[in-house]
């Protein structure tokens, strides 16, 4: 049998997975102890003889399983062919089907975002958080047994992004659990957690010691990280060998993803400026005086939802997509899929003006070189009039309509200029999902397509 050039499991990989399982074993061991102290008992179904068992016993069961799996991996007690622990082969195509498509990926991340907010009371409990953490680590560990998954997730430059996923998830969970606590206190008329027994303490020792411990721990962490995992360094630069795909630094991959839907002048220049400008304008737009200096969700539903929408599915979500799912030729690939340079995806995107003129059975007016500049301009404007009207309508008329309907209260309380800035920022933010849906539903390329002037929207 010839050697597989892309082996899913090798002795070294099995050993590495052993460490991952061992970490999970230790994590869950600690959790089992905690559960034994805090979680109490729950009744067994009559089928199993009834009676009460500690909740911790289930965690103990899971922990001991992890321990055994870790032991089997670390001792290499069998050959790679005999290892059956890994993401089951029949599940992989299903997961790939979901993530290897921008439509489905974005839909799932939107559902997750809505789900997080909707089910925040359930999800922000310690047990739910621990279950989610276990789900994520187990998913990662099982998937690491796959060659192609390892290639992309284990790339040195991508390691911080995997870490970021866990960290962002954790802090979102933490913020919601504190917000839920405060929201409950507010509903019951009790003082906020931040205000209760909030006495002044001396900075020395209470704060400076925390800072000192934090600095020492971080220094140690950075050095261990640096020694264990070398920072990325690829081949020497060559201006003739263009890598495929060519990616921007990872934190700009959300912006690079916008390039699929918008031209560089918008995705690379205007939108980033709007994002920064919008962030700076934020404190002057948000007139809600509540929620200053404490965690809450109920008192600031709108602003937190909008911010989280921008940060979670749009910013972080797009970075994940750009890093792990965009492969050669900027095609979408599943996480267990080989990055095949020859994968073909049909791309037949059509401008709005083409739709318009063809549906009228008329010839789409095109400027010719023998026209004067003025004639060319008029021809182009005639060709693209629908897109121009729609775009201007979106940015100018839509705010007025919203002011009379959904944002009526906002418009009244903000005043004209503040409201217009706010409305345009919201519309700019919504422009990306809108264009995505138009692309997926109608293969729409440009709403305004004037390549003659590099002015495509």
């Amino acid at each position: 049998m010839p050697l597989d050039p892309h082996p899913n499991l090798t002795p070294a990989v099995i050993f590495g997975l052993g460490w991952l399982y061992l970490i999970q074993f230790l994590m869950n061991l600690a959790w089992t102890v905690r559960s034994l102290k805090r979680d109490g008992h729950h009744p067994l179904p009559a089928l199993f003889g009834g009676g009460n068992v500690p909740v911790a016993s289930w965690w103990g069961l899971y922990t001991s399983l992890l321990g055994m799996v870790a032991f089997a991996h670390l001792t290499g007690s069998s050959t790679p062919e005999n290892f059956v622990i890994g993401m089951p082969e029949f599940i992989k195509p299903g997961i790939d089907w979901v993530v290897a498509s921008a439509v489905r990926y974005f839909s799932v991340s939107m559902l997750a975002y809505v789900g997080v907010i909707w089910f925040r009371r359930v999800l922000a409990t310690p047990t739910a958080g621990w279950l989610m953490l276990n789900g994520a680590t187990l998913f990662l560990t099982l998937s690491m047994a796959d060659y192609d998954f390892r290639q992309i997730v284990g790339k040195p430059d991508n390691v911080p992004i995997v870490a970021m996923l866990f960290i962002v998830g954790f802090f979102t969970w933490l913020a919601f659990s504190r917000a839920n606590d405060n929201d409950k206190r507010i509903a019951e008329g009790r003082p906020l957690r931040e205000a209760e027994g909030n006495e002044k303490v001396l900075t020395w020792p209470d704060l400076v010691y925390t800072e000192l411990v934090c600095m020492i721990a971080l220094t140690a962490f950075l050095f261990v990280w640096g020694v264990c995992l070398q920072a990325p360094l690829e081949e020497p630069a060559s201006s003739v060998k263009t890598p495929n795909p060519s990616k921007a630094p990872w934190y700009f991959l959300g912006l690079q993803e916008m390039l699929v839907y918008y031209d560089p002048w918008l995705a690379g220049v205007v939108f980033p400026s709007v994002i920064l400008g919008g962030l700076m304008a934020l404190p002057y737009i948000d007139f809600n005086k509540k929620g200053n200096g404490y965690y809450t969700f109920n008192e600031r539903k709108f602003s937190i939802s909008v911010f989280m929408f921008g940060f979670l599915p749009l910013w972080v979500g797009m970075i994940i997509l750009g890093t792990f799912l965009r492969g050669p030729n900027w095609n979408m690939f599943g996480i267990y899929e080989y990055w095949d340079v020859h994968k073909l995806e049909a791309l037949n995107n059509v401008d709005l003006s083409e739709y318009f003129w063809y549906s009228l059975n008329m010839v789409r007016p095109m400027p010719t070189p023998d026209m004067s500049l003025g004639e060319q301009a008029i021809t182009i404007l005639k060709r693209e009039w629908l897109g121009i009207v729609l775009t201007l309508g979106y940015l100018v008329i839509a705010p007025s309509i919203m002011a009379a309907t959904i944002f009526r209260n906002f418009a009244l309380r903000m005043g004209f200029i503040r409201y217009m800035v706010f409305a345009n920022l919201v519309l700019m933010m919504a422009a990306l999902p809108i264009k995505m849906v138009l692309r997926w539903a109608f293969n729409l390329k440009y709403i305004i397509g004037i390549p003659e002037w590099f002015l495509n929207v």
Binding site: N198, T210, K247
Partner: protein, 257 residues
Amino acid sequence: MSVGDYIRESQIWKSVFRHPAPYDRRNRVVVMLTNFFLHLHPVSVKQEGIALSYTWCMGGITFFLFLVEAITGVLLMFYYRPTLEWAFNDIQALRDVNTLGVMREVHRWGAHAMVITVWLHMYRVFLTGSYKPPREFNWVVGVILLKLTLLLSFTGYLLPWDQLAIWAITVGSNMARATPVLGHEGPGFQLLNIGGYDLITNASDARFLLLGSKFVGEETLNRFYILHCVAIPLVVAGLIAIHFWRVRKDGGISQPL
């Protein structure tokens, strides 16, 4: 008299630390007021305000990472030459040969970490509503610092001069070509012309300003090196000072009003 007491009673020690060790309440207050490094802090703070589950410590960690980057960065500058001939070789030598090479790993990973901690700091400040009055302006300073952190990381990305570096910067800076009016492939670049001659060409547009060249080359390396090691860190250091100053002047760590 023990050795410790002897040292603490000496003229040298007393000239450095102008008060007894912070063992009692009085001296714990005095130490915050007379020590340069500690005087950033107020003398006392709200207990809930400094709780880790409230602040996530992300602002402090970001500042600490900035210091780590500054120190490791200066050490790296002793070994690194920003030229086409040496840039890559120097980094490789740091990695494979040099004892202090771990500084490069720490610098690189620290930079990744700093980008993430800056976002998380902003996330926390948003979620606790700490940008609300009277802290609006400090939020604006923070957004500028966020942008500068990304620029620091972006300019540093090029310096190893490997494939990852030049192509990431090529992709990233290609956007500047499309800057409206000021990029040679941006809408409205034809507006800037004199007597039919375009002022904005691939040798004079926004991208050229960024790269110092029509493509990512030696001029770019030099330009990014200066930006990364001198220009941006100076601006960031200044803004950090303002950011901290305003934290104090706007009422310290945010708490319920």
